[in-house]
């Protein structure tokens, strides 16, 4: 079934660009495998929210995405630390993990969350709809 084109293509495109930046905090392997699908799914969701919801739905959606990014990043980093791979059953041992790189990635996550929250806010404030 084909999707109806959104009534807010510009806003949707901006949101997708911000999301593309946000997912840079995910581990490389995960991003390489699912990056494109993450963006397509996000775009579909953002179009539905923009076309069907009001300011409250939009704010709830922005909050939900921020929480989702933080939680996913945390979970994936934890799995990576625990088993050295993305696998549930980890194939490499813990000693292969570079602790300093993991610490730097956590710092990037925190900076990314603050940055995306700020951009989301500016996007909402500058939106002509509201």
């Amino acid at each position: 079934m084909t999707r109806v084109p959104t009534r807010h293509p510009r806003l949707s495109a901006i949101a997708c660009r911000i999301y593309c930046l946000t997912i840079c905090v995910y581990p490389t392997e995960f991003r390489r495998t699912f990056g494109h699908e993450l963006v397509i799914t996000f775009r579909n969701r953002v179009e539905d929210v923009l076309d069907g919801g009001g300011i409250l739905e939009w704010l709830a959606f922005a909050g939900h995405i921020a929480v989702d990014c933080t939680r996913t990043c945390w979970t994936l980093s934890k799995e990576l630390r625990a088993c050295g791979s993305m696998s549930l059953l980890g194939l490499s041992d813990d000693s292969s993990i570079d602790r300093r790189a993991a610490g730097a990635s956590h710092l990037c996550v925190a900076a990314g969350v603050v940055f995306s929250a700020g951009v989301w806010y500016m996007l909402i404030v500058s939106s002509p709809r509201w």
């Binding site: 699908e37 993450l38 397509i40 996000f42 969701r45 939680r71 993305m86």
Partner: protein, 122 residues
């Protein structure tokens, strides 16, 4: 290490994984269709974000619960690079075992009069 071969080794499932398997038991779906199906099945109580969704799908692929389908979206209607997923035989056995486990828990709750007979567990 070998992956789990018996369904009970993977129980209990997390709510997102359980609902994703239930959604896939109806047929092949892509990520966004799964996200919408799970929200509909749970009356909006479980809203999966893209990160949570694909994190779960990755674990499910590695555990052999689902597989990537060969199906591709019609390029005229949707993004042809979009992937579809299908439940595996092992995934069907795991979700059935989990559903039985949950049904047994509901039976006990009913027996303790925590749930009225014939009601939904909401």
């Amino acid at each position: 290490m070998p992956r789990a071969t018996r369904p009970d080794e993977l129980l209990p499932l997390t709510p997102p994984v359980f609902h994703l398997l239930v959604a896939l038991s109806e047929g092949e779906r892509h990520g966004y269709a799964l996200m919408r199906q799970v929200a509909a099945d749970t009356d909006g109580a479980l809203q999966l974000g893209p990160g949570t969704l694909y994190g779960c799908l990755q674990r499910m692929l590695e555990a052999g619960l689902i597989a990537e389908s060969g199906r591709r979206a019609d390029p005229l209607l949707d993004d042809e690079r979009r992937r579809y997923y299908r439940i595996s035989d092992f995934g069907t056995r795991v979700v059935t075992a989990e559903a039985k486990r949950l049904a047994a828990a509901v039976t006990v709750a009913r027996a303790r009069r925590l749930l009225p007979k014939g009601s939904r567990a909401s």
